[in-house]
Structure formats: C-alpha cells, structure tokens
Chain length 224, copies 6
C-alpha cells in the first residue's frame, strides 16, 4: 500500500479557495461544524501568513524526506504540500533548499507534522510553514512513501485536493466535497459576526444580544 | 457548588496594582517568597504586554465558554479575567468577538488555562491574553460554571480580587491580603537590584558582591 | 564527583569558531554526520541571533543556580555558558542581573536546559539565551555543582572547550577535536548548496539534479 | 454533520476476526504494511486481553459521554466500541455501570481516546478497555455526537465495521476491505516467524538467516 | 511564608473517612459535584489499594525532601501525607526508609506530586503511594518548606485535615467542611447505582432507564 | 563517524556486577553521588526484574533496528544491550523474535530509549526490557549505525563495558572506572541503611537519628 504516486488530482475552484483563505481558520472551522482542525501543536514558523490551497498529500517514513522530492513534481501553483510521517517524528524534514524548489514551482506553503529547519531563511524568503517542531535534525532518502493518497495529519484526515486553510491560529482542512457548503456557512457567519462586533464594541453584552439570560436562569444560575 | 455568580468583589487599591505591574512578574514572585507563579506553559499571545489588575475568576466546564459571557457583566475597568476549566482543555475559549466585548468594558486582559483563537486580530487590537495554547477549536454554551469563586489556574489558587501580574515571563498572583507586604518587598528588591546592576555592569562578580566565596569553600568547592 | 571547578580550559581557534557561526546549526549538524544537535525544545528567547563560541560547562542541582555565579569568573570574552541541571527542571535559573554580569565579561550567550526569566529585558539587552522554558520561578544558592566538567545538555554530551553553535534552528555542539573536520565538511556543504540553490531556484527538480529517479524505480515506486 | 446514528453497519466474517485476534497487534500491523496502529498512549487497563471485533464508532464532544449510551443499542455481540472526542480530553468517559451495560449486550471491549474510571471494577469484571488515561473525572450528557460515522481515533481512521485488533501491545485497525489481504499476509508472516524462531532459539544469527552481511558491507559497515 | 509547621490540625470523624474510602474515588468525586480530583498523572505504585484519611500537607522545594522528615512527627495513625514541591519535579522524594518510618507511625499512605523510589520494596511492604513518577533520583535536605499549610497538589487545593480518598482511579480531596454533604451524596449515589446496575445487567438500556430518548430527539438526533 | 562496530570491549569483573545488581538502582545511584540515572520514562515491561551487566551499546537511526541484529554477535552471556536512536523515536525496535535470539546468546536484558513490542510474549519468556514506550510500530533495516561506541541513552552517557543496573525503579549506569568506588560506597550505604531501618521501624524519627533539629532551628523553622 506504499510506494504510490497519484499524478493527477482534482483541485477546487480558485474562487472558493481564495474566499476561504480570507475567512481564516477559526471561521472556516466553525463553518465546518467544528471539524477539520489540526492539533494545536501545528504552529507557523512566522506570524502573519494567511492562506488556503489544494492539498498535495505526502506520506513518508520517520526520519526520511525522500517523498517530498517526489511530490514537488506533481504540485501546481497555489498548492499546499501536506506531509505526515507514518510514525511520530520531530526531525527536520524541510529547509531552505527544498523551500527554494517549492517556491520555484509556486507552491504556496508546507504543512508538516514533524520538524522544519532553516527557519531564519524560510522567514526571509516568506515561505510559510506550519510544523510540529523546529529542528535541524537531518533526514535520509532511503524508503518509499506515497504521494496523493489519503493521510491523517495532526489528527485530521486529508485527501489530495482537499482545501487547506492556515493562519496564525493553526491549520484547518475542508474536504473537497464540503467546499461549497463550508464557504456559504463561512459567509453567513462573517456577516453575523460583523453585526455582532459593532454591538459588542458599543458595550452591549452577549448575554443580551444572544438572549442567554433566560436559559441561564432555567439551568439554575444564581446571582449572589 | 456550581452555577454561582458573586456579583460584588473587593478590589485592591489602584496604586498598589500599578506599582506591582511596573515591578513585573519575576520581581513580584520573588517578593512573594517565590510563590504565586502560574505554570510556565502560560504564555502571552504577543510580546511586550506588562500589566496588573484585580482578578475576576471564572470556573467553567471543558469545551464550554458560556460563563465568560456571564462574567463580563461583573467586571470593571482594569480587571483581569482569569479562566480555568474544571478539567484540562486546549480548546479555543476566546477570540476576537469576546475581546471586543471585554475591551468595550475596559477589561485589561485575559488569563486562560486553555486555548485562544483569532490571535492575529487580538494582536492587532492589542488585547493581551496569556493562555496554555493557541487553538481555533470551537466551544459550546451548554453548562453552568461559576464566577468569582476561588479557583486554581495553572497550579495557583486565585480568589476574586487577588492581583494578577502578567508580562513576557508569565503570570503571578498576589493574594489580596498580601498586597501591601508584596509591594514593600518588591520595592526593596528593586532598590537592591538597581545597586547590584551597576556593580555587575562594572564587571564586579556576584561572588564578591554577595560574599559567597567563604560559604562555597566551607561547602567544599575545589578549584583545579 | 561534584564541587569541582576546572579553571583552565582549552579553547578552539577563533577563526574556526567564526566560520562555524556563519555556517549555522543545520549545516554544522550535517557536517558532523548528523550528530551533536540538542533536543528541539531548546529555543531562543528572541529570533535572529546566530553565533558560536567555546563552551564553559556548568552542572548544577535542580532549582539552584549558585554555580552560574561561580562559573562567570572562569569565562573569557566570546565564551558560551552551557548549563544543565542534574535532574530536569524548568525553574528560572537566569535573568537580567546575571546577564548584566555575563555581558560585562563579554560572554556571548547562555544555553540552559531549564527556564530563564526577565525575557523582555534580555531581549532589550540583546543577550541571547537558548532555554527549555521561560519561567520566573526563583532558584536558590545552597548546593554545589561543578564547572568545566563534561555534561549532557538536552541529550548531547558537552565538554569544556567544545564549540557551541546556535541560531533560530536550535543548538549544535562540535567536539573540540572534530572542529577542523566539521569546518571542512561545512565549507564543502555550503559550496554544494550554493550550486544546488541556483538550479532549484531555476525550477530544476531535486529528482533530476540528484539523479534519484532510477533508485526510486528500483525500490518500486509506481506512478498512477 | 453531527447528530447522526447509522443503525446498520456491515460486519466482517467471524472467522477472519477470530484469526486476526489470534495473530495479535504486532503481526497484523506488519501484515497491513505497517499501517493502522493507534498511537502508543493507548494502553490496556489490565494485561493479558487479546481480541478483535468489528468497530462501532462513536464521535462525541470533550467531556460528554452521552453518545456512548446511544451507541450501545446499535452494537451486536462481539463488537468493539471505538470512541473519540472531537477535541482532546482525558476525562473519565466510561466506568463500571456502562461496562455492565456493554457486557449485558455482549460487546467485547472499549477503545477510547480519553480517560476511563472504575478500573478496579472493570478489571474484576474482566471487561477490557484500551484508553489514553485513567481518570475519575465525570462527564456530562448535553451535546450530540454521532454513531457509526468515520472517525480518527489516536491517529488512525476508523470506519464502522473495520476490524479492531487489540492486545498488550496496543490497538490496530484493519479496514473492512483489507481484511482478507491482511489475514493472508498475517498467516504468511506467522509461518515464517515460526521457522525463524526455531533457528534463532538454536543460536543462529539474524545476520546469517536473513543474509544481511553482504548488504551491510556494501553500505560500508566496518568492524574494528 | 515558608518554614512553618502547624503541629495541631483538626481531623474528621473516623466513621466518615471509612465510609468515603469504601465509596471510592469516582463516587466521591461525583458526590462532590465533580470537583476535587487530582490530575490523572497521579498513579498508584501498585494496584488494589483503596483508602481515605486526613491530609497532613507538606510544601517543599524541588529536589529537597527535608520537610517529609519534619512532617512525620505531626502525623497520627490513619493520616495520609500529601506532598507538593513548589516547582514541578519528578525526583525520588520518598523510598523504603521513609516508608518504614511512616509505617511505624501508622501513617496510611503517601500522595506526592513528584517521584518515588524503591517501588519493589514499597510494594512488598504494601505501603501505598500515589505519585507522578517513579524515579530513583536522590533529593537533598537543605531548604525549609512548611507542614500543614494549604497547598495545591496536582491541581487541587488541599488543606490539613481535608479527607484524601485514593484508589486505582487516582486521588480525590474532600474539604473538611464538605465531608458530611459529600458522604450523604455518595450514599445516595451508591444506592442509585445499585438499582441501575441490576437493570443494566439485565439488558435494559440507559437510554430507557434515564428516559433520554425524548431529549435526544429534541436536540435533533437522527437515525439513518 | 557512523557504521562502526567495535568487536572487543572490556567487561567489568563478574563479582562487582553481581553485587551492584543486588544493591539495586536507588542505592547505586546514591553511591555514585546521584549521577548516572536514566530519565524516569524508562520503564520495565514487567515488574520484579533486578539485574546488572556490562553494556553493549547500539546507536541507530529513528525507525531502523538493523544494528540490533549486528550487535548480538558481539555480546556475551550476561551483557545488557543498550540502544539509543539518533533522534527520538517511540517505534517498536524489538520484539519476541529478537528476544529469542538474545536469549539464545544468554544476553540478560535490553535497555532501549524507544518502543518495544510483543510485551506479552517477552513477559512469558521473562526477558526483561526497559523502554520508553510500548509500541507495535514496525522498523526497517536500511541504514547503518554503530555498535560499542559511546552513546547518550535517556540523558545518560553510556560507554561499552559500563555497568548497567536496572530494576523496578529504572536504569542507572556505572562508568567502568568508577565500578569499585561505586561498589564500596554502595556497601557502606547498605550497611547504614540496615541500622537505620531498624531504628525507624522501632518508631524513632529521622529528625533525631540524623540530628536534624538543630539545623532546622538555625534555618528558622517555626512550630505553631
């Protein structure tokens, strides 16, 4: 079941991807019914990046980054490479040279449930990476993995072509066939939040805006 | 024992609070006899905030942020909301909308032994948060907790009205009835450190300034 | 076996140290055959520092920083103090006053497998520290340890006079007698990377540059 | 996407399940190409249980075990209930009363990526549980989850009807449509291991039995 | 605030303590409104102990067990010594010699948020310990702490004379002035559980016994 | 620096090894001046083993157990194999087949800073293993490491021929050239403990036996 590269994947419409990027991780995660969020140990190497793109998935062995080299060839401009080792590792699978290669191919970002190195250079290049650790620990190129097969990354299933949304809050994955529904729910949510924000900024309380007082009383909340 | 909101709490004198904020966490923790420091996993979402304020405490269930909404109403300008779930959680209890509400009420900051989201927006708003994790994971509004009851947050007991001091080093709690003693000890310490700093900057050694050489010799230290 | 201060240590040639600093942690770690890297929990308190220097080693008890005071006297300009407690601790062994003292002696940096405090002040002073935690927790001055004995810090053996290389990727240790070999391997590597970088930036693939396709096919990689 | 109970699931043939149970986790994991193994923090509450059964999956909120009650009704004799909260939790989702109910329905075992309580009683009842923690922390019955939807438990995707294999080494999941292939590979492996075991017990070396010496020499291994 | 030994404490009635011991941790924790439970990393060194007793509290420095010696003198038969270091430590604070001393004084058990050693001997002596770690790491006798002051142990506030309940599920603390209420609630709960157990063992479902179906439907649960 | 097998190592006298085994980890660690203890996450797979033996060291890559096969040939009866991956791993490096091979060669035990599998079979064979994790995760045989070079295992430097002492408390390493000194210190300690144990069992207090009261008073301990 290993050693497979699926060269063709279906990518979502560009417009959806862009709008989900703008909505951001927290909103998209809510729009998805609170699913799809990777574990909070997935952190960006620099603050401020906010993006979305189709996932190119990479499954590889612990301490071996060979399949990242294989995967690059099958990425398109705007893709986000999502990498998960088959057993937990914090080794440094990715650094400046690989980032140079990904950038040359206009790949947008890397999400890796492992370590990353050359963080200073990556930051200077503004190549965004979400990772579990920063580590210079070198990896080898000895064993096969697979490209564009379904994987689990940081607790979340990712299929090739799913939409990866990432910002300072972490990483969220939208399954390709939920993209439209997620987008509409996100739009709805953003609109409501806008109205909310103004009322809250004016000093109104969530208790009143959401009409929570009655339900709190029913549950037995007592003021002393 | 749950489902209680104490609406009135006693707050410390403003002057004490301000001076403790200026002294900072490390100094106040020392002035308190090295007590009151929350676990080091409590980290600020952006660097540079340094503040102190009376604690409004919130105890709530894992994955449920309803009581934060309840607590806002009972905060005053300058308060610091301190939130601890009844069992460990890294979910995102707090984000930009709640921060807008807290800011409208001039609440100074949030300390939460759980996750927080919308960190980019919170940083832009300069609303300081110390938390255990960054996570977009949504929470629900289903179960009661309590406001202004004694809690344990990140290993430290916090009573409503205790003084919370927070900066880049973490979070320290000064029990209300130790405030004066802590302040005086902090002042003393700052004065001594000032003198110390100048001598150390001039190249003198702590070994000599503190007169440690004799005690080291007594303990049997050997130079080879 | 404790309570010993070795006052004289052998330091590496300045030129080697400087060049290893410029090469950086990831390159030096590779040049060392992927050895010498401290655990990834060793993080800098501010981004951007990149340095190397001879190790002055300090072994001390949990929660006791007395030996740091002892060690300062035996450091020279450019040294890096490397501190490891004899059992795991996240207490704040080091802060602004000690940093003032180290700076006065032109000690370059601190590497400590424990906590550090006054991080704001240390950042303003630009005194670089790599540590396992940020914590204001105070330490005592009661028990002896040793200075300039071999230690294990964050998983790596460090002898006095070994070269410590540190940057945003972490900390790497070059044993004194491997310094020349490491330097030459690092130079070699940097040269190759330079050539590589240009080809990758031009869009060539690692698969082709490194000639990996044949070996991948031999291992049985299948494209679908 | 939540609040759904799929009442009918397809279960694998009994014979396959039995034989996989006998093969055990390590062998089945190998037979699956080293996939399907849950994270090693999933530990049995008592040693010696070794079993396999069709998965009935339960997705539920952190700190809320309501859906376990819902799921029982849709289990059959021999099933293994697999429970994963939607965000990490170590609360005690399951204890003696629920175990009594599962036992009455002849459900074989529980796998829960959270905490479990009443471990003494469960051990006396010989009701096997694999969990992430032992914790008496109570849970609530307030929010919906789903039964028999695809979940991720301890890093592994589990669909209803997949075969769960569990013993002292942990938990492994065999997707329903790989069951036959896994079984055949497991049989093959067991046969080979049997032969191997005898030769190794007689003092032969793996180096010779597997013919590794040549490949080691090629790779450059040096004996000194 | 350190260096204090309170020699006299108030102990709860023996009958209450015995009955809480019999009820066990999970039941008492529920009877307390789901409060008082120590973090799940507090584990017994051998299975099967189930006890309760008045807390004698010990606050001490990391890596220093001097105050345990001080505390013994102020314990009575049946007491449970509860020990928490002022900063996290996994050192071995306690072993066979101290256990011999505690046993001679008929102290029932030790609860320590740190490490313990000589676990084989302790098991043979049947002296029960709940600890955070097993570690042979030696501690010193250099610095004062306090005996019978309020502490926080594994996340829970403990005052001298509070009732500590401990079994295979962990450790729970009942504040002295809640003892009667906790006992009555525990009795109530045990009675209900008894009835429950019989119905569940007979194959009835919690869904029906608790009448949950209607509320599930209201919440929108759908069967497919 | 990798790919080396040192075939000849110097082993300590059998008598020393036996006596250290009988003394046990806690005593030997104390006799060594509280050094040499591996991190407390190194746990035995079954309780009750207590042994010592000369270390045969194995350094190998993450997820690759090839060098264990290489090392067996260079072990003698009574040796303890000590295995450390070059970057952290919890994979299952060792199971029943390898144990069969080690047993055939009368190797006493395995210490591995990683995972182990087939724990039920290993327990039935009574082959003792101390490991960081239990995990069935398979490893490969692709990359070289080294045998009988100095390594760091679980925080402790281990050279080939050093004496490994292991029991239910964990693992301690005695450098070969400290063996005699450690043994004598251990004997001394055991004698003293014997006397101590009797006095403590008779109800005397450590406070009095060690004469601690005066020093406690000097430090300022106050009884209230």
């Amino acid at each position: 079941m290993t050693g497979i590269v699926k060269t063709e994947i279906q990518r979502p419409e560009h417009m959806i991807v862009e709008e989900l990027a703008a909505a951001g991780v927290a909103t998209v995660h809510e729009a998805m019914g609170r699913t799809g969020l990777m574990r909070p140990y997935m952190r960006p190497i620099f603050a401020g990046a906010r993006l979305a793109g189709p996932a190119v998935t990479v499954s590889l062995p612990p301490g071996d980054n060979w399949m990242i080299h294989v995967a690059i060839e099958h990425c398109q401009a705007g893709d986000v490479m999502v990498v998960a080792p088959t057993s937990p590792s914090e080794d440094g699978y990715f650094g400046e040279l690989l980032a140079t290669s990904l950038k040359a191919r206009e790949i947008q970002a890397l999400v890796v449930e492992a370590g990353v190195r050359d963080t200073r250079e990556l930051t200077e290049m503004r190549f965004p990476v979400w990772s579990k650790a920063v580590s210079a620990q070198g990896t080898i190129k000895q064993s096969l993995g697979s490209v564009n097969v379904p994987i689990v990354c940081a607790g979340v299933p990712v299929a090739p072509g799913d939409i990866v949304v990432a910002d300072d809050d972490g990483v969220c994955v939208v399954p390709a066939d939920h993209a439209w529904a997620a987008l509409e729910a996100a739009r709805e949510r953003l609109k409501k939040e806008d109205a909310m924000r103004q009322r809250l900024a004016a000093g109104e309380l969530g208790l009143d805006i959401y009409g929570m007082r009655e339900r709190l009383a029913e549950k037995g909340l007592k003021y002393e």
